[in-house]
């Protein structure tokens, strides 16, 4: 089976920062806004290199979203930066009316998504943001898996005309996708071919899915691993084609099972190819303080959890 090498742990938010730095040089219409979290979002370089195109808005996220919507009127491509919680739930109505319904070309870039921001605890650990954002008509929702892919996604969304939610995280995680990849919005990536079970994962859970596929292989189970970096629009064909072969599926995400990737996959399959499915996701709960690894273990979001879910779903075929 195909394996992937971790070229060294890196945080996905730094991938965003690197992408933004590059965009600053290559696309003069790109502007950036931040709500008092420049360091956390890795926007320092953009601010330093392009102070005239950088807007420090203070701790005022609602105003930031409105400013971004307004900046598009005049041809700018605004990238907003704050934590995922404050990028979505806190400003849902501003995004809904001033960005999504108004069809504005705003890129909502959200770090510290999910449990893995760690010790700050549940107030900052949003596990509902994918659901919130995917429900908005016209919103593209992307959750890349590592540093390289987050950088590539950041570059790609600047060329996409329309609102985008780009979700990434705080911790250093395996960096294993190609540095020179071209990011194609809405196009799932087949990472490992397999015959017995399909694992569809997004974000930090993609590496965990790869680790799970190795463990399963040692047990004689052939798992197919698909990286769904784009939750909306969902690559339904890639999922249906894989499941046509494996006849069962596990979805894996750092998000509530309500409203997440798993439900989007279930909708596709229930319409086109009803299939046994297990969900690796949080179970309608808030998070808590802890290290990222402790939290992923406690809430069942690591490779062990994926292995167990695969073994369970195979029995249901």
């Amino acid at each position: 089976m195909k394996t992937y090498e971790n070229t060294g742990n890196k945080d996905t938010r730094s991938g965003f920062g690197a992408g933004l730095t590059e965009l600053g040089k290559t696309n003069e219409n790109v502007v950036a806004l931040c709500a008092d979290l420049i360091g956390s979002l890795k926007m320092d370089d953009f601010k330093k290199n392009h102070p005239e195109r950088f807007y420090q808005v203070g701790i005022a996220e609602a105003n930031m979203i409105g400013l971004a919507a307004g900046l598009t009127i005049g041809g700018k491509i605004p990238f907003t930066g704050t934590f995922a919680n404050f990028s979505t739930g806190r400003v849902y109505d501003q995004i809904r009316q001033s960005v999504a319904y108004s069809g504005k070309n705003v890129k909502i870039c959200a770090s510290h998504a999910g449990l893995t921001l760690g010790e700050d605890g549940a107030t900052h650990q949003i596990l509902e943001d994918i659901g919130l954002m995917k429900m908005l008509p016209g919103m593209t929702v992307i959750n890349p898996c590592d540093y390289n892919q987050t950088k590539a996604a950041t570059l790609a969304i600047a060329d996409h005309d329309g609102p985008v939610y780009l979700r990434f995280g705080r911790p250093s995680v395996a960096n294993f996708t190609p540095a020179d990849q071209k990011f194609e919005i809405g196009k799932a990536l087949h990472l490992v071919e397999g015959a017995d079970v399909t694992i569809v994962a997004t974000g930090h859970l993609v590496w965990e899915a790869l680790e799970a596929s190795k463990a399963l292989n040692e047990k004689g189970i052939s798992a197919e691993v698909i990286n769904i970096h784009t939750i909306k629009p969902l690559d339904a064909k890639a999922i249906i084609d894989s499941v046509s072969k494996t006849k069962c599926i596990v979805t894996a995400e750092e998000h509530n099972h309500l409203g997440g990737l798993g439900e989007s996959v279930a909708r596709v399959l229930s319409q086109h190819l009803p299939t046994p499915q297990e969900f690796v996701a949080t179970n309608d709960t808030f998070g808590e303080s802890g290290t990222p690894a402790q939290l992923m273990e406690k809430y069942g979001l690591n490779s062990d959890a994926i292995v167990k879910a695969c073994e369970k779903v195979i029995k249901r075929k």
Binding site: Y55, G58, A62, I65, L67, L71, I73, G75, P78
Partner: protein, 281 residues
């Protein structure tokens, strides 16, 4: 350039449009629309420097953003009367498949509209963003915005008001429609706004009062003064003192017509008080 009498004639016709639009579908917001009729007519016919036609980016012209989107009847009437879309389209207000949605939106591609509004408190942030884009583009034109007074109860406004002064956004003129009324009663009884001038000044804005906010000449004079204050490192606020329901005697000085349509008799009386000037749609 129209003279004052011509602007007043347009205003009278706009009042008729508002009443007829709201009456036809038995819904909509006539009170605030009538109160701002003179302002809209003056703004679009005289105050703003506008290009022919419509493009979203609006580079090389003044822009306007309506934050209190529920007064869409006056907005639609004036946009149509200055040529953004056919006047006959006012017939479709709030009907299925119309571009004239209950609250303004870009979603249906109606020329003249640059942002959806209706959920209150969002327009000033958007207007400020557009003003910042103008600066980046080297465009010397201005951004105008209009807000209800009750709308100032929404917290996002104060984020925006703080931002504008802190960042010296001095190419914006934000007008507050001070009619003292909101859905549940007067602004004093619902949630007092206190001293609005003092609040804006404390936040670092230049504030200009237009005491006669339903008088065309007063509006032209006040807005000219506001315009003269732009470009000085501070945002400019106009406090437009209006009478809700202005021009239709039984709708004036009350919140009762905030979101209520006239019946057939009331429409007839309202139209009698505002004789046709430019021709009904």
């Amino acid at each position: 350039m129209p003279n004052t009498q011509q602007l007043e004639d347009i205003t009278t016709q706009v009042r008729r449009d508002i009443l007829r639009m709201v009456h036809k579908v038995n819904s909509g917001h006539p009170g605030g629309s009538l109160g701002c009729a003179e302002f809209f007519v003056a703004l679009y016919n005289e105050i703003m420097d506008r290009k022919d036609g419509f493009d979203m980016d609006g580079i090389g012209e003044d822009l306007f953003f309506l934050s209190n989107g529920h007064i869409s009847p006056v907005y639609y009437s004036v946009l149509a009367r200055v040529g953004y879309f056919p006047v006959d389209e006012l017939n479709t207000f709030r009907l299925l498949n119309s571009r004239l949605q209950g609250h303004p939106t870009t979603h249906e591609g109606l020329p003249g509209i640059r942002i959806a509004s209706g959920s209150l408190g969002q327009g000033m942030s958007v207007a400020l963003g557009a003003a910042q884009a103008k600066k980046l583009n080297g465009c010397k034109h201005l951004v105008y915005s209009l807000h209800g007074d009750g709308e100032l109860q929404e917290g996002q406004n104060w984020e925006a008001i703080m931002y504008a002064a802190g960042n010296k956004v001095d190419n914006i003129i934000s007008t507050i429609d001070l009619n003292g009324q909101q859905i549940d009663g007067s602004t004093d009884t619902v949630l007092s706004l206190g001293d609005v001038r003092a609040k804006f000044e404390a936040f670092g804005w230049i504030v200009i009062d237009i005491e006669k906010g339903n008088n065309i000449e007063a509006i032209l004079k006040g807005m000219a003064e506001a315009k003269s204050k732009t470009g000085n490192g501070k945002p400019v606020c106009v406090l437009l003192h209006t009478v809700m329901g202005n021009g239709v005697d039984f709708m004036m000085h009350t919140h009762a017509w905030h979101g209520k349509a006239p019946n057939d008799d009331q429409l007839a009386e309202g139209l009698r008080q505002n004789a046709e000037t430019l021709g009904d749609y």
